[in-house]
Subunit: 253 residues, 2 copies
């Protein structure tokens, strides 16, 4: 892929526990930042879907055609509700079977007696896929073409990112600068509209906040072009200053 | 809608700041629990999409055909990146214009001089929509058919839920019980598989955790049938006890 074009990704979060509200997803925000900063890939969509095979099959097929890379999180453990690898195999129309390499890894980790049939389930994947190393609990992720099947547990998802980094080709990372001001966003709206129209390749976000009863706005400038980043964010800083908004550049978290 | 059938919802989270990883969404988990507990509506999918008009139009049209209710969060403020109401109007093929009732509410709140053109922008919505009251900062949400346009700021989204409750018709709420055990999930997998096959209308989730270096599993039973809930969760508790897993019933958070 060319360094000049935008490389896109989509995250499919698989799990009834996210949709029921029991668990708050932590993987989207980590993966989005990591992909941008480490590889220059832009997260363009995320979907949260239930543990239902047909839904996983349809969503994977739609998204792998639409984005350069697709990541899934969740549903690769040893229990009955872990159906992601089977569903992805079905989406590709390929077999789902015991992968000898994955079986070896698990056998070494658990010992021949410790590798129960439930644990051995984690060695099944789409036939022909590449394993994604999991240094924490060994059960691997799987890559098949542009789809990366990852763990749902954040710590494991994060070490899997390091393992698969060499398999990704990105473009220019998006850089950002954020200005925090005491202005309500309506006070600075006009300036932002003008800048938005003038600078096509710069994304300007306006995020109101309430803090200890005081309202204010964070203005985030995002672009792959370093010079435009400085130019536009300096204009916003200056405008907020002139409007009496006590602007400060803040860490983008 | 009949009390016997499942009533479904989808949440469309609109905002570049969620996809960039800057902000972690807090609305999905609140809304999913609130819809289930207060109205008996099941969240079946969520999508995170960017501030791009065509994407919003397509996503709203796909989801409003597929689910009983669609909620959107984000993009209804006074700045250039707030394009949700316009995009939803376009999705329905109806006009987007100043809504007199919304204009009155804002004029009363800001006073005639305080209602700048940026703020007045928040009184524009899909023509024919019903306002969703916002007791905190007054700028309303909008309901058009089965689509509810809500604020992205969690405090405001939450008070809007109270305002729109009477507009929703749900079914039976899903009840849940959760059992925390020291067993790794592979140790209890067989029991769960059998229960999953035996009880068609009960959803059993298995969620491994690591806490202070100790691994364990939370087992969550979910169903609309109170008697099945007690029956299945008691069997799981007993099985975990017999396997030496020190089970305890825990609060579902």
């Amino acid at each position: 892929m060319s360094k000049d074009r935008t490389v896109t990704a989509c995250l499919i979060i698989i799990g009834n526990e996210i949709l029921s509200g029991r668990t708050r997803d932590a993987n989207l925000s980590y993966l989005a930042k990591w992909l941008n900063e480490e590889v220059g890939i832009q997260m363009r969509e995320a979907r949260v879907i239930p543990d239902i095979e047909d839904t996983i099959v349809d969503t994977v097929n739609e998204c792998r055609a639409k984005f350069d890379y697709v990541f899934t999180t969740g549903g690769i453990g040893p229990t009955h509700d872990d159906i992601t690898t089977e569903a992805v195999a079905k989406a590709f129309g390929i077999e789902h079977d015991l992968l000898p390499e994955a079986h070896e890894v698990l056998k070494e980790y658990y010992g021949p007696e410790g590798l129960t049939s439930a644990r051995a389930r984690m060695a099944y994947g789409p036939v022909g896929s590449t394993l994604i190393d999991n240094p924490i609990s060994k059960a691997p992720g799987f890559q098949i073409e542009n789809v990366f099947i990852m763990a749902g547990i954040p710590q494991i998802m994060q070490v899997m990112c390091d393992s698969l980094k060499h398999s990704l080709t990105g473009g220019k990372p998006v850089k950002s600068r954020s200005i925090r001001t005491e202005l309500p966003e309506s006070r600075i709206a006009k300036v932002l509209t003008e800048l938005d129209q003038q600078y096509e390749h710069v994304d300007i976000g306006s995020y109101p906040f309430f803090n200890n009863g005081k309202a204010g706005t964070s203005l985030v400038v995002r672009t792959t072009e370093e010079d435009l980043l400085i130019e536009v964010s300096d204009i916003i800083y200056q405008s907020a200053f002139e409007l009496g908004g006590n602007p400060v550049f803040e860490e983008v978290d």
